[in-house]
């Protein structure tokens, strides 16, 4: 059969479409964004009427997916790893309510922090919630496991977490699609009318059910087609390889002739019998995990009864993604000598695009801040975070979505006045609004700059939930009308912008300044689309 060339994320999207999904819910975040984008652009998904609009944040996305599952249909929710922190409230409780229609929670981790603030491992969340976890090791498994995840979810009436990492997300390979496209579920309410009502008395019962189901989840892992024990003669070492770790292992034995017994794990909870067998038969065990040493830590324990090597003893690096070389070294291979990077090669960090509106904001901001003294600008997550780098060096914090406003508030409460928040339009509607309400309620002297480029730019210009709504949201939250300013961030207006900054920094209450100019990249893309559709119309 003809294979399709798909990124790991696209394979999941296609797998979910072919697996009878009725809706995907998500907020963009690298490396998860293209799952939803693929579905938005899929003709097949459109014909099947699959929901795929962006949500305001990961929590609203997860809750909507749970609602769809409640109604009996298959739903997928996608996010990057730190997005799961935002959605964690719903996530943990969804393990207690369980699912009705199949629910697949896809979380893309970013070890080595290519585009993130940390490298948290979502498998830990899976264990925390006591949910089954899938960790595909290649694009084909990613495709197959989307459908399998829905089936597992419906069989055990629980949401299933699928954890992927950057390398799989953004690597392409040929994927064979299943011949059969599953029909979407009919609307069907849960048989147990109070299944989703987590009053303590009901929640206790549901929790006991979750606990008693653990054995079943484990049995499913033992039987899973995605987990395997492969025996071999040399028992001086056994290898446990999770997700992509398996690929880096096999890369070192291209003819498939690994001399050591191997347990491949792509489904959790950990298949206990396989682990017992390998630790029992081998003198020591090497654990290869893309992310935290989750299994390694469990096996090693405090008593260190098992001879376990991996990330904790330095055999592999404690942080960052695995590489084939790192794994090769752990297996005792001599690494090929290679050339070094010549000294003349300079670092080329990412930077704001030429003509970006954030540049005009930072240029003005820096000059006015200099009048008050540095150290008072709290920024957020988005392209404007690049304002931390030269030549701007304009911001003093970037922590999590929305934290700019609330950190500015805390600092102002502590006496750092004025304190300034810089946040993007979409980040504001993601998690900034509630913090602004806190500040309004206390009339905290902060200035909030919502640098509005009318798109979610860092992830590729997705539609911003904030579009056309910012002023009315701020007014609705109680910001005084005369302290809301919309301005055009262009070099010509430099002095005017400074004047407004200065004036509002002096105001002893909440001010919101909205510099608004569409993202340069988004504009280029929009023009292209416009031109193409005009050409099409002309032809017709």
């Amino acid at each position: 059969m003809q294979k399709s060339l798909l990124l790991g994320v696209e394979a999941i999207a296609q797998g979910a479409i072919d697996g009878g999904m009725s809706g995907v819910y998500a907020y963009p975040g690298t490396p998860s964004t293209e799952i939803t984008e693929y579905i938005q652009h899929s003709k097949q998904a459109k014909e099947l009427n699959i929901h795929s609009d962006w949500a305001a944040n990961e929590k609203t996305a997860m809750e909507s997916a749970l609602g769809m599952s409640y109604a009996g249909k298959r739903a997928m929710v996608c996010m990057k790893h730190v997005g799961l922190n935002v959605a964690a409230d719903c996530f943990m409780n969804a393990a207690i309510t369980g699912a009705n229609g199949g629910m697949l929670i896809v979380v893309a981790d970013d070890p080595s922090m290519h585009s993130s603030q940390n490298e948290q491992d979502s498998r830990v969340y899976g264990k925390f919630a006591m949910m089954p976890v899938l960790e595909p090791s290649n694009q084909q498994e990613a495709y197959d496991m989307a459908r399998f995840g829905f089936e597992l979810s419906e069989a055990f009436e629980i949401p299933v977490l699928m954890r992927i990492t950057t390398r799989l997300a953004h690597s392409r390979a040929g994927v064979a699609r299943s011949a059969e496209v599953m029909v979407q579920n009919e609307l069907k309410l849960p048989e147990d009318k109070v299944q989703f009502v987590l009053l303590p008395a009901i929640a206790r019962k549901r929790y006991k059910k979750l606990l008693s189901n653990q054995e079943k989840f484990e049995a499913a892992s033992e039987d899973s087609a995605y987990n395997a024990y492969t025996d071999a003669a040399d028992k001086s070492m056994g290898i446990i390889a999770c997700g992509l770790g398996y690929n880096y292992l096999m890369e070192n034995y291209p003819d498939g002739d690994c001399p050591y017994p191997v347990v491949k794990i792509s489904q959790y909870p950990i298949p206990r019998t396989m682990i017992k067998k390998i630790t029992g038969e081998c003198s020591k065990v090497l654990v290869l995990e893309e992310g935290y040493p989750v299994i390694e830590e469990i096996l090693k324990g405090y008593l260190e009864k098992e001879a376990v090597i991996g990330r904790l003893d330095g055999t592999l690096s404690r942080d960052g993604e695995l590489t084939p070389d790192m794994v090769g070294r752990a297996l005792g291979f001599k690494i090929e000598e290679s050339l070094e990077i010549p000294d003349i090669v300079a670092a080329r960090p990412p930077a704001l695009c030429v003509g970006c509106s954030h540049i005009d904001v930072y240029k003005a901001l820096n000059e006015v801040i200099a009048e008050y003294g540095e150290g008072r600008v709290f920024a957020d997550i988005g392209c404007y975070t690049l304002g931390a780098l030269p030549p701007f060096n304009a911001i003093n914090s970037c922590v999590d979505m929305g934290a700019s406003i609330t950190m500015a508030k805390g600092a102002a409460d502590a006496g750092l006045i004025p304190s300034v928040a810089v946040i993007g339009d979409s980040t504001f509607t993601h998690s900034g609004m509630t913090g602004l309400l806190d500040a309004v309620n206390e009339k905290t002297p902060i200035t909030v700059i919502i640098s509005d480029n009318e798109s979610i730019s860092m992830t590729g210009g997705q539609k911003s939930s904030a579009k056309g709504k910012l002023e009315s949201i701020c007014e609705g939250l109680g910001v005084e009308k005369e302290h809301i300013h919309v301005l055009l961030p262009v070099p010509k207006k430099h002095d005017e912008i400074k004047e407004i900054f200065r004036k509002e920094f002096e105001y002893k209450g909440v001010s919101v300044i909205i510099p608004r100019r569409v993202c340069v990249q988004k504009n280029v893309r929009d023009q292209k689309i416009k031109k193409a559709s005009m050409a099409k119309a002309a032809k017709a």
Binding site: L168, I344, V345
Partner: protein, 190 residues
């Protein structure tokens, strides 16, 4: 093969043509690429692996690349640790300068010319003057690397045809012309 460049230069179209060529001819392929933050003018790379046997790792091991194809001269050097002994560096000579400490052009060229196997080609000029489209420089580069890629040359032509089919005959022909121009330069200057 490591394909290197700067975010926004469009190296992924090179990978796409190769990928499609590989897949249509029943070869195994894996191609890892950079998305997200570094696409904003940072260094970007794509790891392209093609084989007649199954491929496991999405990443190329150090010292494991047969070719470094770079659309920017300094970026070619960034990936030298991945180059196999005897492997080729095929790089565009036109720099993309978006940083203040970009090395001097002469030193950069000297470093490239000190490598045992290299092709240094002004793909921008060839695209503009010989092909007639500045945007085709990516496929001039693929053409320049083609003598070292162990995949029949027709496959590459097919790959280009396929990925640009939607854009019409003219675009296809332009990029195939670019492919040939790059290949010719390489054969004459390796």
């Amino acid at each position: 093969m490591v394909i290197a460049g700067v975010g926004g230069q469009g190296i992924l179209s090179i990978a796409a043509a190769l990928g499609s060529a590989a897949l249509d001819n029943d070869l195994y392929m894996k191609q890892a690429e950079t998305h997200g933050m570094s696409q904003r003018g940072g260094d970007v790379q794509s790891f392209m692996r093609i084989s007649d046997k199954p491929i496991y790792s999405d990443l190329i091991p150090k010292g494991g690349a047969d070719i470094i194809l770079s659309v920017e001269p300094m970026e070619a050097l960034r990936y030298l640790p991945y180059l196999k002994k005897g492997g080729y560096v095929v790089t565009n000579s036109t720099p993309f300068i978006n940083i203040t400490d970009y090395p001097e052009q002469e030193k950069l060229e000297a470093t490239i010319k000190a490598l045992p196997n290299y092709v240094l080609i002004d793909a921008d000029r060839i695209a503009k003057e010989e092909v007639g489209s500045a945007r085709a420089f990516n496929f001039v580069m693929l053409g320049a690397a083609s003598p070292f890629i162990d995949v029949p040359f027709e496959y590459l032509e097919e790959g280009i045809r396929k990925i640009f089919a939607r854009k019409g005959e003219e675009v296809v022909d332009m990029n195939i012309k670019a492919l040939h121009a790059g290949r010719k330069f390489s054969q004459e200057n390796r």
